[in-house]
Symmetry: C2
DNA sequence: AAAAAAATTCAGTATAACCTAAATTTTATT
DNA sequence: AATAAAATTTAGGTTATACTGAATTTTTTT
């Protein structure tokens, strides 16, 4: 059984490791869990002794099989709760994160199975991120950045790179949400801004800063 | 902001004090929070310094106004989550408690307001206990023990004194639940067992041990 | 290869929550 | 009122978590 803090570390290591493909370094982890590198070193020793991470001093860490299983369970819970908050309790994108951070630590197998069923076994959370199955498998859609799309190409907004409140709120004002249909009408050479037909009925212009933070499934 | 443990102490003090009408003593509290009296003394000093309890050494404690407000908020959250688990996720009576104990500590005003709305502003939890409003007010029904009812008297099962798993499961086999209609057909002098008409269509016999653990609203 | 910079660890401190054992206070009994 | 019993608190110590600042190790740059 992991403590609240141990779970947060495991989750952050998974997130920073890009699905456990790269080592994660102490300083980056310290920033992610909002603590000091010295505290991280303490914790890494503990996680190592619990066989959750592969750890050689100064060499960065990766998750063991057991560690990755834990990480995926936490992510599963986090994302299911986000679906619940948005679909059932009418939370907006930018309100869910803080609460889901707490709910993801509730310990109950039955609860999460029943919640999954109650929500209709969703495959993606409100940000478009895939929800791992109970066995730790995620469905991944083929997706590219909006900024990488070509003229006349179509797709559907599937996921966001930047999930800050300010970005989410700005997308709201543009009328863009997960699932929005998109077709590229034009790309300006001058500033790489993109003219887009949204849901087949509205024309909007998107700056490069925005287009590099939206993933589209094609 | 209270810690997880402080919240548990406050909740237990409220429960043991009978709506803050009696002092609560260290040994009883130690048993309730499953720790030693010495640890309770430590904690009482902390709660006193945070102005949550009225505390004079050796004299037992009561909650201050602030302490009682905290207690009612926790109880409100606990009972709303119980309604959610039973009504929406199909938990049985005996499965809800452990999970609600965790969920009651989630910190989010918005979450609990929205949950209340989503559940249709319930006044009672699945055990029949009243749910405090956001302002800390509870609706209380006139209720007596089934064992105190007279022959031919009618009522509705409203609340349980014993909430152990074994009791809840036994009630399930009898077909008794919160809201069941009850009419007393006969009371045996010999062992105080009660013959009851359940929901106007079934006749069952209830032992004294069971009848003294069921509250009925009349 | 030496020096500088970056990353990491070590040593010591703080707080929350708990423990045991001993001392103190209150309550009950003679 | 004195004594015994029960309840409670104090004293002193432990463990988990996470902090700061100093020392060490690794990496990068010259």
């Amino acid at each position: 059984m992991l403590t609240y803090t141990e779970e947060n570390y495991i989750k952050c290591i998974y997130a920073l490791s890009d699905d456990n493909k790269k080592e994660v370094f102490t300083n980056d982890l310290a920033e992610a869990v909002k603590t000091k590198p010295a505290s991280v070193s303490d914790m890494l020793k503990r996680l190592h002794s619990k066989k959750l991470i592969n750890y050689k001093r100064y060499k960065g860490v990766t998750l063991t099989r057991s560690g990755k299983e834990h990480a995926l369970k936490i992510i599963r819970k986090h994302r299911l709760w986000e679906v619940f908050l948005v679909d059932k309790l009418k939370f907006t994108w930018d309100q869910v994160h803080e609460v889901a951070e707490q709910l993801e630590h509730i310990q109950s197998q039955l609860l999460i199975e029943r919640l999954d069923e109650f929500l209709g076994y969703p495959a993606y959370d409100p940000h478009g991120d895939p929800i791992p199955s109970a066995e730790g498998v995620m469905k991944i859609k083929k997706q590219i950045l909006l900024s990488e799309m070509k003229k006349n190409q179509s797709g559907e907004v599937s996921c966001l790179k930047d999930t800050s409140s300010s970005f989410l709120q700005y997308l709201d004002t543009l009328g863009i949400e997960i699932g929005s249909k998109i077709k590229i009408e034009d790309i300006a050479d001058y500033d790489r801004s993109v003219t887009v037909i949204l849901n087949k009925n509205r024309k909007i212009v998107i700056s490069e800063k925005v287009s590099t933070n939206i993933f589209v499934s094609i």
